[in-house]
Structures are given as C-alpha cells and as structure tokens.
Point group: C2
Chain length 209, copies 2
C-alpha cells in the first residue's frame, strides 16, 4: 500500500483547509456580531481553549510551497492564496490558454475600508499577487521591483468581481505586467502595473552549457 | 446617571476588541498547527458552533468610523487598523509633533509570502493605509489616486519593524506623500509614494463664504 502515506497527507491537507475555511467564517461573524457582551466574553473564552488545543503541536513555519497530488503547485500557508491560511481571501488563480491569469474575486465585510467598500490596501495586496503570478505563467520568473496601483472607483464587497493580469513586455532582466480588478462587465475599478526583475543568479543558472 | 449608556458602549467595545484579539490568536494557531486530523475535525466543529452563536444577532455592516470617549477617531471595523476586525494587523498609527505618522509593526506567520517573510502584498496594504493617514494628519484630505511601491529587501515577520510616512508637497488638488517600512536601525525594506487627490466637491465645501 505505497499510496497510503500520500492519501493520509491529502486527508490531513483537506482537514487543515476545512479548519481554515471555518476560521474565515468565524472572522466574518466576529466583524458583524451584535450579541450581548456576556456572550462575547463566553465565546472569547471558548476560542482561547480551542486555540490552546491547536497549539498542542505546532510546525515551525506555515505550510510551504509544494506540488499537490495532481501536480498543481500550491502554497497553502500563503497570506493571499493559502487554503490553510485564514488570512487568505483565498485568491484562486486560473491560467488562460494565452498564458495570462484570471481570478474570480469575492471580498467580504472583513475587507472594509470606506463604508461598504473594500480597503484600497486589500486591493493592492491582491493585485501584487496576481501580477506576480502573471509574470510566472508567462515564463519570466522574477522578484517584484516596483508596483504601481491606480485607484479608479469604489470596490464593493459582497458581489462578484474579476481580477486579471498579463505580461506586456520584457527588456533584459526587466519584465512588465499589467493587471486590474474589474466589475463582471469589464469596468475597471483598480489597475496596476508591475516591474519585475530577474535576479542575475537565476539567469546564470538558466544559461545553456 | 447619564454617563451609564456611554460606559456600557465602551465596555461592549472592549469586549468586541478582546474577541477580535483572541480570534487573531486563533488564526495564528491555525496557520502553524500540527495536531492530528481527528483533532482538526473536532476543533472545526466547535468553531462552527461558536460562529453560529456570534451570528445570533448581527449588524448590517462592520463597526463604523467614530470618535472614542477620549475624542480620538477610530475605525474598529477597518480591515487594516480595526481593533474589532480580526483581519487587521491591527495597525496602530501615532502622529508626531511634526505632523508625520509612525507605527510599530509586528507581522506574524499568517502574513507569509516568501518563506519566513512577509508577503509583498501585505506590505503594500499597510503602506496604503499609512500614506492615507499621513495625508490626513498633514491637513490635505484626499482619496488615493496612485500608489507606487518599491521593494528593496526581504520583510521579516516575528521581529519589530517601523512604518513611517510624511507629506512631501502639494499642487492644487494633488498631494504627494512618501512612506516606508524599515528595520529599527532605519534600513528601508519597502518604500512607497502616494498621490492623493482632493475631490472638487470637498474644496467647494471648504471655500470661505
């Protein structure tokens, strides 16, 4: 039964992702709760006990970047995309046949900045990751050098939005990508341009011998 | 006893903030937990029950911007600064005598991007808010137009960092501010420039009659 360990690992991964999903749901409830303060105090005490139970055994760091059993790369501990990180939206990015990226976005009240709207910093956070992924799928690995965000309109939460990004050009070690958060009809709410730099060391490694 | 309702409101506010603090602690435990999957499943079920208890009575939106009993403005529901929003760091910003802003930053494993480092998008999110606050305290109210982030070095979590920002110049309705996230010794890890626009309507309102 050589597959057993991998199956166990995937079952554990699934349980961890479900715990994170439930924790996001709790966060959403905390942000909007209006129960009496005696109940707030009681729930807080129970959360402290559950926190201790989860701390009975701890890893040194969040779940690393890895390849799933389907060969698809994933970073479950990531602050923006991680299925096992409650801080993550999580952002689920799809690669198109044209090697661009696209994500269905669904922001929640916990992302509030201006009343009823997503915080500009949260939009910037999502775009940073989306642009980095666009560089990767286009085959130009690099580190973010400069990220420029232009705010054009209010970003609502609680309704479907779309994030897209694509490579625009490259010159030597520099690569540019554009991206945006838009309404389903294409109206752009926030747009971004990223300049990514490929470290010299990476180019040395890729040079043909 | 006219003060009673206000005191009750502050006690409720404190209980809500403590619930959010405890929820952040839970999130940190989730990100690093390594307990057996039977325990993950059991804790998830208990979290679902606590989530339902908090949902027994809900507000229509997160806690609004308001003035505390000390006259200090606060936005407890804010995604970046809100004491009553578990998504928030929370970022606590101080205004200096020179009308610039400063915040002690303490990132955690839940903010992970590259291994052992803060996600670039999280740094962008914090800088967006810090720059907006710098514009406000300098007396140039406006909406973020463009935010440019330059990444200079790895941002570690688990150690103290400092965020600062200040107004640099204004021309008509445009205002520029600079900010950065740095090590305590002043080494800049991420820097940002923001261009803020004062809406025409706001200027009309402020014009002397």
């Amino acid at each position: 039964m050589e597959l057993a360990p991998a199956e166990d690992a995937e079952a554990y991964f699934a349980a961890l992702s479900e715990l994170s999903r439930q924790t996001r749901d709790l966060v959403d409830a905390v942000v909007l709760t209006d129960v009496p303060d005696s109940e707030l105090v009681a729930v807080t005490a129970e959360l402290a006990a559950l926190t201790d139970r989860l701390r009975a055994l701890q890893c040194a760091s969040p779940r690393p970047f890895e390849f799933g059993p389907d060969g698809v790369p994933r970073h479950a501990g990531n602050a923006v995309t991680g299925s096992a990180n409650p801080h993550a939206l999580p952002l689920v990015i799809h690669t198109t046949p044209e090697r661009t990226v696209r994500a269905e976005l669904s922001f929640r009240p916990t992302h509030e900045g201006p009343p009823g709207s997503v915080h500009g910093g949260v939009s910037a956070m999502i775009l940073d990751h989306l642009l980095g992924q666009a560089v990767a799928v286009a085959g130009f690995p690099g580190m973010t050098g400069t990220l420029t965000i232009r705010y054009r309109g209010r970003v609502p939460y609680g309704e479907p939005l779309v994030g897209t990004a694509e490579h625009t050009r490259s010159e030597g070690r520099k690569t540019w990508v554009d991206g945006r958060i838009a309404l389903p009809d294409g109206t752009v709410l926030v747009e971004a341009t990223g300049l990514f730099i490929t470290p010299s060391a990476w180019i040395e490694q890729q040079r043909p011998v």
